[in-house]
């Protein structure tokens, strides 16, 4: 399969609600993760790494940070004459708020979809961190003569996880025969990773028919309603992934990347994850610093103790300060003699000297962007 024949479509705003305040003024796609990345870097890099050279990013609200991050797409090698990156904000006449559903979002960019030369479309949300080879999925879609292929994963999940996921029933041939939405199930099951493959012409037909009938949800009105009518196949994905659907899963996914074995499955030298370059200096470890089991991005200056934490670019940790089980996003400044555990700080948070901030690992405290403590 010539991947130049595939259009990538990324939904930057889907699942914005699951991260509460963190997505108050940014899209899900621009949520910071793993020390130097934004969530959208993963689907975007995956597409680029498997030679998809035309990608549209669909966004509706709060997209300033997204635009700033993506720029011309050059960092992902998507600043092209032919194809390349297209950011697709809504037209002015659509009412404010999130799209009512994926179909409405697609309808808003229908003319863009129609204008591309692609034969297939790979749709992806920004809620899954993984390094995915999409080629076998496209090939599977073609070989299995599917109308729609849903990328799924099988595992043991709790009710909270399945409540935010689409659970599918799959038969022996890989065909999906049952679709459950917002249904609390615990135990072994197969869930959708919110990535789909579909032929472009079929997608256009589905969008137009659904809109004509006032239907907006891809999951309910297409996957669920048409499960018998359409041949919807499941592609079971078994590589390392983390799905972000709550503050807790966000927190744990970040901490999981400290494990070098996990990190090596996500950051493959031959399939790098690209992101916006910030030109920070290397990180500096001071005279009395002590750092163990942590991810440290460039531009940090560490004079205190850091354990089991993720420090994004440009974080400063003062003398005598102890940081444990925490995620400090870009340019967080922590003063001297502080004690911090189980905390998530957003960008540009300033924590003065002698502060004690702790919460429990099962419910980490989040400190909003630019706050002073």
């Amino acid at each position: 399969m010539n991947m130049g024949n595939v259009l990538g479509l990324i939904f930057a705003n889907m699942h914005d609600m699951t991260l509460g305040y963190m997505t108050k003024s940014r899209t899900m796609g621009s949520v910071l993760v793993g020390g130097r990345y934004r969530l959208i870097d993963f689907p975007l890099s995956n597409m680029v790494n498997c030679e998809i050279s035309e990608v549209g990013v669909i966004t509706k609200a709060n997209y300033q940070s997204l635009l700033d991050h993506l720029g011309s797409g050059r960092e992902w090698d998507l600043s092209r004459k032919k194809g390349g990156l297209h950011i697709l904000p809504p037209f002015g006449h659509v009412e404010a708020g999130l799209y009512r559903g994926r179909i409405e979002a697609l309808y808003g960019v229908l003319s863009y979809i129609k204008s591309t030369m692609a034969e297939y479309v790979f749709l992806s949300d920004c809620d899954v961190i993984t390094n995915m080879d999409m080629k076998p999925i496209i090939n599977y879609h073609i070989d299995s003569e599917a109308d729609i292929t849903v990328v799924t994963t099988t595992g043991v999940f709790n009710e909270e996880q399945t409540l935010n996921s689409t659970v599918v029933g799959v038969d022996d041939t890989g065909r999906i025969h049952d679709v459950l939405i917002h249904s609390p199930i615990s135990g072994q099951c197969t869930i959708s990773l919110n990535m789909f493959v579909i032929k472009k012409s079929a997608l256009i037909d589905l969008i137009q028919n659904s809109i004509a009938r006032g239907l907006y949800s891809f999951e309910t009105d297409i996957l669920q309603s048409k499960v018998k009518e359409l041949r919807i196949m499941s592609y079971d994905y078994n590589e390392f992934y983390r799905k972000i659907d709550s503050i807790e899963s966000f927190f744990n996914a970040n901490l999981d990347l400290i494990d070098i074995e996990n990190s090596r499955q996500l950051f493959l030298p031959n399939r790098p994850i690209y992101t916006k370059v910030r030109d920070n200096a290397p990180s500096k470890y001071g005279l009395d610093s002590s750092v163990t089991n942590s991810i440290i991005a460039d531009g940090c200056v560490i004079e205190g103790e850091v354990e089991n934490s993720v420090l994004f670019r440009g974080v400063k940790v003062g003398k005598g300060t102890k940081i444990k089980n925490s995620i400090l996003m870009q340019d967080t400044k922590v003063g001297n003699e502080c004690e911090i555990s189980n905390i998530i700080t957003d960008k540009d948070v300033v924590i003065s000297n002698d502060r004690l901030l702790t919460s429990s690992a099962s419910y980490p405290m989040y400190i909003g962007k630019g706050a002073s403590v």
């Binding site: 020390g35 070098i260 200096a281 290397p282 990180s283 470890y285 001071g286 440290i296 531009g299 670019r313």
Partner: protein, 400 residues
């Protein structure tokens, strides 16, 4: 007719750097790794863009492949421009024949037509061998104010060191009246930094005259500057105050790296107003493992550190396994230090693998004879098998 540029920078990057031995066997000196995530050439290139100079010719000759690849279209330094930008200028064949660059002045002479395309008032000549942050715009303003033919940037050096440099003699108004290249008994401490601002018409005149002189060595220091002085051209010294170091030798490369972790050295890489740009290797943030001990060091992206690191510069993609000890050393990109290996006062080249229980270098205080001490060097792409010992001062350029 192209748009005019006020100033064009010409960066001499053809230096072989032979005194860096194994480290410059396959790369030109300006492409040598410095400060964990930089290459030496990042400093003059970043200075250019930070000073508002967006047209830079990079003159290459010796082992240019790595350097060409590194500079690319100049995008990391914001030097990919519609008009101007960075241009690699290797020697090329002309109707009159082909010749290598036979000296610094000859290299610029052979590229006069490149400079003429931009019709500049001034040309700034830079070298790719120095670590410093400098606002060239201020120097050009000084040159303009003095109505000079040539302005030479100088630093005040220790009298003991003065014999290593080209030494200037200047009057109170900074006009230079004499110049001695590497004097045995220096009577001044104003050392040339190898940075010259020329009014372009004067540069053209003196380069052309120098070319016609069959005896000349075609060098700025030996020929052009003495010729300017002999003709009473207005030649001024621009006094630079700040950190400036030449990284021409193993010892100075090591020292200059160590300066970055010395809090008393005024070279701030964290100043957002004067960033040093570099080509990004596209790697994840580094991971510090459970068994790691790390202090007084700089570490960049793509590293996995689970050993002990103290007073060291750790470049991108380095692995330091559990039980390994790296102190007072420079690890270049992709170096691997296996379990229980010891690296002290050493430079380990790019992608070299130090197998377990190797011992590279030694601390000066552990030496019986201090004269035998020096920084140990392992070249690029080598593998040192288990238990190999590399003595201090030793330079390894083959697998052991």
């Amino acid at each position: 007719m192209m748009k005019k540029k006020e100033c064009v920078a010409m960066l001499l990057a053809g230096g072989q750097g032979s005194r860096l031995y194994a480290l410059t066997q396959k790369v030109a000196k300006p492409a040598v790794t410095y400060g964990a995530k930089y290459r030496i050439i990042d400093f003059p290139l970043s200075n250019c863009i930070n000073s508002g100079i967006d047209t830079v010719g990079v003159l290459t000759q010796y082992q240019p492949l790595v350097l060409n690849d590194y500079i690319g279209n100049g995008q990391p330094w914001d030097l990919d421009r519609l008009h101007g930008g960075v241009h690699i200028l290797p020697p090329y064949q002309k109707a009159s024949g082909a010749e290598w660059y036979s000296g610094t002045a000859n290299a610029i002479y052979q590229n006069l037509s490149f400079i003429e395309r931009y019709d500049p008032e001034y040309v700034i000549i830079l070298s790719g061998d120095h670590i410093y942050k400098m606002d060239y715009a201020k120097m050009i303003a000084f040159h303009r104010e003095k109505d000079a033919a040539c302005t030479i940037a100088v630093v005040d050096v220790e009298p003991a060191e003065a014999s290593r440099f080209g030494i200037m003699f200047a009057r109170d108004d900074d006009e230079i009246y004499d110049f001695v290249e590497k004097p045995k008994e220096p009577k001044s401490t104003l050392a040339s930094m190898g940075i010259y601002v020329f009014s372009f018409d004067k540069l053209k005149k003196y380069l052309t005259e120098n070319e016609n002189d069959k005896e000349a060595t075609k060098d700025f220091g030996n020929n052009i500057i003495p010729a300017l002085l002999a003709n009473n051209e207005r030649t001024f010294a621009y006094r630079f105050e700040g950190y400036w170091k030449d990284v021409g030798t193993i010892d100075s490369l090591w020292e200059t790296n160590m300066d970055l972790i010395n809090p008393n050295i005024p070279l701030d890489l964290y100043d957002p107003a004067w960033k040093i740009y570099s080509r990004n290797p596209v790697m994840p943030p580094h991971i510090i493992g459970k068994e790691a001990k790390i202090q007084n060091s700089m570490v960049t992206e793509g590293c996995y550190i689970n050993g002990t690191v103290d007073f060291s510069m750790i470049s991108n993609g380095v692995t330091i396994e559990e039980g390994a000890k790296v102190t007072d050393s420079i690890l270049m990109p992709g170096a691997v230090i296996k379990k229980d290996a010891i690296v002290e006062y050493a430079i380990v080249g790019e992608h070299s693998i130090i197998e377990s229980k190797c011992h590279i270098g030694a601390r000066p205080e552990d030496m019986e004879n201090r004269d035998e001490w020096g920084v140990a060097v392992v070249g690029h792409g080598l593998t040192l098998s288990e238990g190999t010992v590399v003595a201090p001062k030793q330079i390894v350029s083959e697998n052991m």
